[in-house]
Structure formats: structure tokens, C-alpha cells
Amino acid sequence: MSLTLLALLALACAVTYNMLIRRRNAAENAFAGIDVYLKMRYDLIPNLVETVRAYATHERESLQKITELRQAAAQPGLASDARVLLDNRINVAMGGLFAVVEAYPELKASENFQQLQRALNEVEERISAARRYFNTAVMEYNNAVQQFPTNLLAGALGMHSRAFLSEPPEVHVPVKVADNLQSRA
């Protein structure tokens, strides 16, 4: 009798352990998904800077700032928190850049710039989708870590709740890009 109970307890622990690991891995995998699209955006920035530089010769300072931020964010081995922080700063800088672009109608009309805007818009939406997936995965992981009885095993394994990623309030880049393209359609 006691052996049966012990076997059942061991089975329950194994199932719970596997579930916790699965959910933790899903959250990590989801964060890696964001990383992929952030890198895609970093790859677009040099082209954007060069295109803007060709038309907007007086914006050297803001272009320099974006280039520096991009270089910092593209460094390998950056901690996830630092990456999120840098990404937010890039968003703000890009928002400023797109505001400046309004003063250069030739730049806005250039085919190359419009193609870059479209590509950026797409990457922004993919980043947003990856962020939404990350938050869903984190919610499922946090539920398992906080709910009884799975919290007992999670506590023993040193698993803690993870923070959600919120859409940075300063991010206006996709809106501006979309508005610009919509007005041309």
C-alpha cells in the first residue's frame, strides 16, 4: 500500500517536474524569438542611416547616436535586460529620426527609403508578435510556479516567476512609419 502511494507520488513529481521544465524552456525559446527579430532590425539600421544621410545632411548628430546605439545592441553576449533597455533607447532615437524625416520631402519620396520603412514596419510587427508570445509563455510558466501544488516543487528547484515584457510607451516608430506609408497609398 505504502509502496503504491510512494510510486504515485514519484510519478506526480516527475510529471510536475517535466511540465515546469517544458514551460520554462518555452519562455526562454519565446525570448530567443524576440532576439531574432531585434537582430533583423539592427541589420536594417545601417541602410536606413545611409539613406537618410544622403538627403538629410544636417542630421549628423541623431544619425551618429542611432549608429552608436545599434553597435552597442549588436554586441554578442549582452544580458537580456541590457538588450531590452538598449532596444527601448533605439526606439526613441528612431522615433526622433522619423519625425525629422518629415522635413525632407525628397527623402520621404525616395523608393529606397520607402522600402526600408516597409521592412522596418514588418520587423516591428514581428517583434511585437514575438513579445506577445513571450508574455503568453511567461504567464503559463508563472501560473505553474505560483499555483499549488506545483509551487512546492518549483520552490524546491529554485524556479521563480519571470517578468512580463510590456510594449515600451515611447515606441512610436511603427505608427509613424505606417502613417507615412498609408498617406501615400
Binding site: 522600402q115 520603412q117 516597409r118 510587427e125 514581428r126 508578435a129 506577445r132 508570445y133 503568453t136 497609398a185
Partner: protein
């Protein structure tokens, strides 16, 4: 008419009235006379059938012609003969009605649309979309194809009836798999995977247990749990990529799909496959059909066609498919 995107609310009445007066009414007299001719022929045919059938049956029974099966044979021959004659006349009349009246109504609705009464979305495309795959499709027919480009979005849709066979080969029965309108549109975003939005029957019937069942991997892909609770109440989403499903189903698109479903009330399935959006809208009525025993001069008949056109082409505007701000143009 300027285009489907302008057909909204109160505008629709005046646009329909203009189409009725300009495209339908001038052609009505001839077709209505054709209808009366067909109706009279059909009625006469049935009278003639009865008139021939009664003495023929009496003769066959009286003189025992053809043995025991004689009366049945005579009856079947007369019914088949009458049915064939009825089909011949009816289909000629129906073709004329569709080619003249429905086609001009479609042109008045939106000049960018082309109407082909005897064509449909192909069975290959229906099957490849994977949108209705509970059973393998064994029979497929369709009609009333409409195609064209609304704004930046190429669309085509038609009435479709897909069937499957159940039971063993000895006792096979043909059953309905899907009946309604199958709509194909060039989607405004590039994507590589497959994502499906299906009616959420399991969760509605079984609650939490239904959701647990959905959690198991389906033939449609992996379950995608989305944040929009209203959308989740009506639909279940499967995809082979969690991120791509969220990229396609933005918060705005989810709200639009829910709104479209709530306003029109037809069961709805959507598939994002091969850069296209497929929409299967279940409809029990046969669309764009004439009637033989009632007048064709009633504007209500054409108003129904007009509203159907607005419903199906409205997918483009209601799901915002003309927004082309991404790399796909």
C-alpha cells in the same frame, strides 16, 4: 458604383436603387416574359404527364403489360421524361438570368469584378488550403465565380459544395463536408507557415475540458492562445508558428474578424496559407438563383443578391486587406 469600399450603411440603399434602375429594370421585361413562358411549359408538362400517366397506368394494369413491374416502369419513364424536359428549359432560363441580370448587377456593384456563372474556385485550391479537412474531399462542385482586384487586393470567391464518403465501400454514403462561399484573397503580409482560425466548438460545448482537448496537437497545428477574450470565445487558432500566428492575427485583425462574425452570423473559418487568406463562410442558401413560380420584378430579390455581394467583397475592407504598409505590395 465607385467600389465595394464605399458601400456602407445608408449609402447602400441609394447605390442599390441606382443599380436597380440602371442595370436591372431595363432588362427585366424580356426575362420576365421568358420566365412566364417556362412556367407555363412546366405546368403544361405536368398536366400532360398526369393526363398520359393515368390512362397508361390503367392500360398497363388492365392488360398486365410488362408483368408486375409494368406500372412502375411507366411511371418512372414519365417522371424521367418530364424531369429532363423541365431541366432543359429551366437551365436555359437560369443561364440567361445569370448572364444578363446577375452579371449586369455585379458590374453595377463594382466594375472591377468579373462574374463567371459556370466557374468556381478549384477543388485543388480548396483542398490545398487545408481549411476544411475533417474528412477527405471525395466530391466537389461549385458555381458563381466572382474575381477581380479591389484596391491592392486580388480576390476570387464562389459558391462551393464539398462532400465526403462515409461507411464501407459496399454501403458508402455521400455526406456534406462544406457548403457555402469559399473566398480567396491575396493577404497583405508575407508569411511562410500555416495558420487557421476555426469556430470554437469544443470550448463552447465542453468548457474547460474542451480547452484541454484543444491543447492536444491538432491536424491543423499547435494551439495558439491569444489575448483577445471575445475572439477566443468564438474561435480557436492553430498554427505551425506561435510568433507568425500573432504576427498575422494582430489585435486589430482579431477585433475585425470577431466583428465580421457577430454582424453577419455565418459560421466562419479562416486560413492563412501560401501568402493567401482563405475564408470559408457557411451559407445554406443557393446564391444568385432565379425563381420560376414567382415574379422576377420584385426588387427584394436583387437586393438580396446585392447584400450578398456586399457581404463577400466586404471581407477586403472589413479585414483591412488593402493596407499595404509592409514589404508585400
Amino acid at each position: 458604383m465607385a467600389g465595394a469600399e464605399t458601400v456602407t450603411g445608408a449609402d447602400r440603399d441609394s447605390l442599390f436603387t441606382a443599380a436597380w434602375e440602371g442595370a436591372v429594370e431595363p432588362r427585366l421585361a424580356e426575362i420576365e416574359s421568358h420566365r412566364c413562358q417556362i412556367r407555363n411549359r412546366i405546368l403544361l408538362g405536368w398536366l400532360a404527364t398526369v393526363a398520359v400517366c393515368v390512362p397508361a397506368m390503367w392500360l398497363v394494369t388492365r392488360y398486365e403489360l410488362g408483368g408486375n413491374d409494368g406500372p412502375a416502369f411507366v411511371f418512372a419513364a414519365l417522371v424521367v421524361g418530364m424531369g429532363s424536359a423541365w431541366s432543359y428549359y429551366y437551365f436555359r432560363f437560369r443561364d440567361r438570368f445569370k448572364n444578363e441580370l446577375v452579371a449586369s448587377l455585379v458590374t453595377a456593384f463594382d466594375q472591377r469584378l468579373q462574374y463567371i456563372p459556370h466557374d468556381s474556385v478549384s477543388m485543388e485550391e480548396f483542398v490545398q488550403s487545408g481549411l476544411v479537412r475533417e474528412f477527405p474531399v471525395t466530391g466537389f462542385e461549385g458555381e458563381d465565380l466572382l474575381r477581380g482586384k479591389i484596391g491592392a487586393t486580388a480576390i476570387r470567391f464562389s459558391e462551393v459544395r464539398a462532400t465526403y464518403q462515409s461507411g464501407t465501400s459496399n454501403r458508402a454514403r455521400v455526406r456534406k463536408l462544406f457548403r457555402g462561399v469559399f473566398f480567396v484573397a491575396d493577404f497583405n503580409k508575407d508569411f511562410t507557415g500555416r495558420t487557421y482560425v476555426l469556430p470554437d466548438k469544443a470550448q463552447r460545448l465542453l468548457g474547460g475540458a474542451g480547452q484541454a482537448l484543444q491543447g492536444m496537437r491538432s491536424a491543423y497545428g499547435e494551439l495558439v492562445k491569444l489575448e483577445d477574450l471575445e475572439f477566443e470565445r468564438h474561435f480557436v487558432v492553430y498554427s505551425d508558428s506561435q510568433i507568425e500566428a500573432r504576427y498575422l492575427l494582430s489585435a486589430a485583425l482579431m477585433a475585425r474578424i470577431t466583428d465580421f462574425r457577430n454582424r453577419h452570423g455565418h459560421p466562419l473559418r479562416l486560413g492563412f496559407v501560401d501568402s493567401n487568406l482563405y475564408v470559408a463562410i457557411s451559407v445554406r442558401r443557393n446564391l444568385f438563383e432565379p425563381r420560376v413560380f414567382r415574379t422576377l420584378s420584385d426588387p427584394a430579390l436583387y437586393r438580396e443578391f446585392w447584400d450578398d455581394l456586399a457581404l463577400f467583397t466586404g471581407v477586403v475592407e472589413e479585414l483591412n486587406l488593402n493596407t499595404r504598409i509592409w514589404t508585400k505590395r
